[in-house]
Assembly symmetry: C2
Homo-oligomer: 251 residues x 2
DNA sequence: GACTTTTGTTCGTATATCGCACAATATGGA
DNA sequence: TCCATATTGTGCGATATACGAACAAAAGTC
C-alpha cells in the first residue's frame, strides 16, 4: 500500500472514538487528546465532526457518544453470517445444558462475543455481543489461541497484561503455552475460576468444512453448580454435537 | 462550527463503514462507491485505511469488516451508564414476567436496543444490544416518539418508510400521530403483532429525576401466550415498578 | 486577587487528500 | 480467442487538512 492510500484523518478519528470507554463516558478535548496522544487541535476537529454527524453530543465542554455510533459495529454483527447461523444452535445448546452458551472470535489479545444465549445471570459481568474478555484467561480464548501457530499465540500472550483476576488465574507465559498445547491435543479448554471466582467454563473450536478454526463455542456454569472437573463429562458431548452440526454451516 | 473544523476524510470513512450491512457483508471498491455515492478513489483509500488498521480484511478483491470494528460501538455501550444500571432491573423484570424485557433509545427513525434480558426465544428476529427496529411499529418506538414534541415525531414518521409488516401494522401517518397522543396520555404503548405475526409487546418510558424521557422499557410476549388486550393488566404493574425504581438511577 | 496551570481556539504554512482522467487489469459472452 | 464491458489502480493539479505555536479564556492554587 502506498502512503497516499492511507487517510490519516480517518485513522485519527477512529482513534478518538476508541478513546471513549468504560471509565471515560464523557471526554473534554484535552482529555481525549491526552488519551489518544494526538494534538488538541486535531482531536477537536474529529470530535466536532462526530458531533456534526450525530455520532456524538457536545454540551460546549464535554463530548459523549450517541447510540448512532452503534451503527458502525452493527454493520459487522448483521453482516457476518456467523451470527445468524449459530444463534439457533446456541439457543438449543443453552437450553439442553441449562447454562449460558456463547460464540466468540479473537481480536488481538481479547475474545469478542458475537452471539450468546443466556440463562439466568450468574456472573457479575454482563456479557453480550460485542463484549470483550482477555483471551488468556477465558475458555474460548484458550481454544482460539491454541488454533494459532505457537509463535503467534506466544506473541499475543506476551502483549497481554497477564493479571491474576483470582488466585486460580494462570499468569505464567510458559505455563500458558503448555496449556495451549494440551488444549490443542484434547480439542477443548476448561477454565476453573480464572476470570471470576465461582465461574467455570468449557469451550471447543468451531471448525469449517476446510478445517479452519473460525470461532469458539462455550458453556459457562457456576462452580457451585458444576465442579470444573465434571464440566467435560457433562457438557463436552453437547458441545461436540453443536460443533459437528455447525461444521458444514460456518464459512 | 467553522468549515475547517470538519474533517471530511473522517466523515467519508464512517459512511464507508456504514455501507456494510445485512445484505452487504463483503464489498468491492466499486460496490462500496456505489452505495456511499463517494468517488472510487476515495472509497478505496478509506477501505485500505480500515484494512491497514485491522478494522477490515482485504483479499485483493473484497473487503469485509473484522470484529475489531465492534470496539467502536462497544465504546458507547460500556461508556453509557444506562446499560449497567438497568441490566439487573431488567433481569428481575424478565424473570418475574417470564418474558423477554428490553431497554432501548431512539436513533433517527429507529429504536436501538441498549440492554436486554431474554427468555426463551420466540421471535424470528434475534434481538441484542445494538439491534435496531423501526420506531413506528415497535412499542418502545411509540413511547419514545410520544415523548417528543408532536412536530418532531411527525417529522420522523414522515421520514420513515411506513411498511405493513403484517396485516395489523398501522401505516397511516395521521393514525400513528393520534396513537402517539393516546400513548402520551396513558403512559404506555401496546403493539399487537404490528412487527411480526404472533408477537405482542408493551412499553413504558424511563423517566429521570428531572422528568425527561431517557429511554424506553418493554416486555415482549407471544400472542399465543398472552392476548394483546391482557398485556396491560398483566405486565403494566411490573413495568411501572421497574420504571419507578429506575427513576432516581438514570441520568 | 494575583499567580500558575490547564484548556480551548485561531492562524499561517507545509503537507496530505480529493476527484478527475487515464491506464491497467479482470470478467463475460459470442 | 477475441472483443466489449466492468472494475480497479495511478498520476496530477487544485483544494483541504494537520501541525505547532501563539493567543485567549477558564480553572485552580496560594
Amino acid at each position: 500500500m502506498r502512503e497516499t492510500d492511507f487517510v490519516s484523518g480517518f485513522a485519527r478519528g477512529l482513534t478518538v472514538i476508541e478513546a471513549f470507554g468504560e471509565a471515560q463516558p464523557r471526554l473534554s478535548i484535552a482529555e481525549a487528546a491526552k488519551i489518544t496522544g494526538l494534538d488538541r487541535a486535531t482531536v477537536r476537529r474529529s470530535l466536532l465532526t462526530l458531533s456534526e454527524l450525530g455520532y456524538a453530543d457536545y454540551d460546549g465542554k464535554f463530548f459523549a457518544l450517541t447510540p448512532k455510533i452503534l451503527r458502525l459495529g452493527h454493520a459487522y454483527l448483521s453482516a457476518t453470517p456467523l451470527t445468524a447461523i449459530v444463534q439457533p444452535h446456541l439457543d438449543q445448546l443453552s437450553e439442553k445444558a441449562g447454562q449460558s452458551a456463547s460464540v466468540s472470535v479473537l481480536d488481538g489479545t481479547e475474545v469478542v462475543y458475537v452471539a450468546r444465549a443466556s440463562q439466568r445471570r450468574v456472573m457479575s459481568i454482563n456479557l453480550m455481543p460485542g463484549s470483550r474478555l482477555p483471551a488468556y484467561c477465558a475458555s474460548m480464548g484458550r481454544v482460539l489461541l491454541a488454533a494459532l501457530p505457537e509463535a503467534e499465540a506466544r506473541d499475543i500472550l506476551s502483549r497481554t497484561e497477564l493479571k491474576a483476576n483470582t488466585p486460580h488465574t494462570k499468569t505464567d507465559l510458559e505455563e500458558l503455552v503448555a496449556e495451549l498445547r494440551r488444549v490443542r491435543d484434547q480439542g477443548y479448554a476448561v477454565i476453573d475460576q480464572e476470570l471470576e471466582l465461582g465461574l467455570c467454563s468449557i469451550a471447543v473450536p468451531l471448525i469449517n468444512a476446510r478445517g479452519r478454526v473460525v470461532a469458539a463455542l462455550n458453556i459457562g456454569a457456576p462452580a457451585a453448580h458444576v465442579a470444573a472437573d465434571e464440566l467435560a463429562e457433562r457438557y463436552l458431548p453437547l458441545l461436540k454435537d453443536t460443533q459437528a452440526a455447525l461444521r458444514p454451516l460456518v464459512q
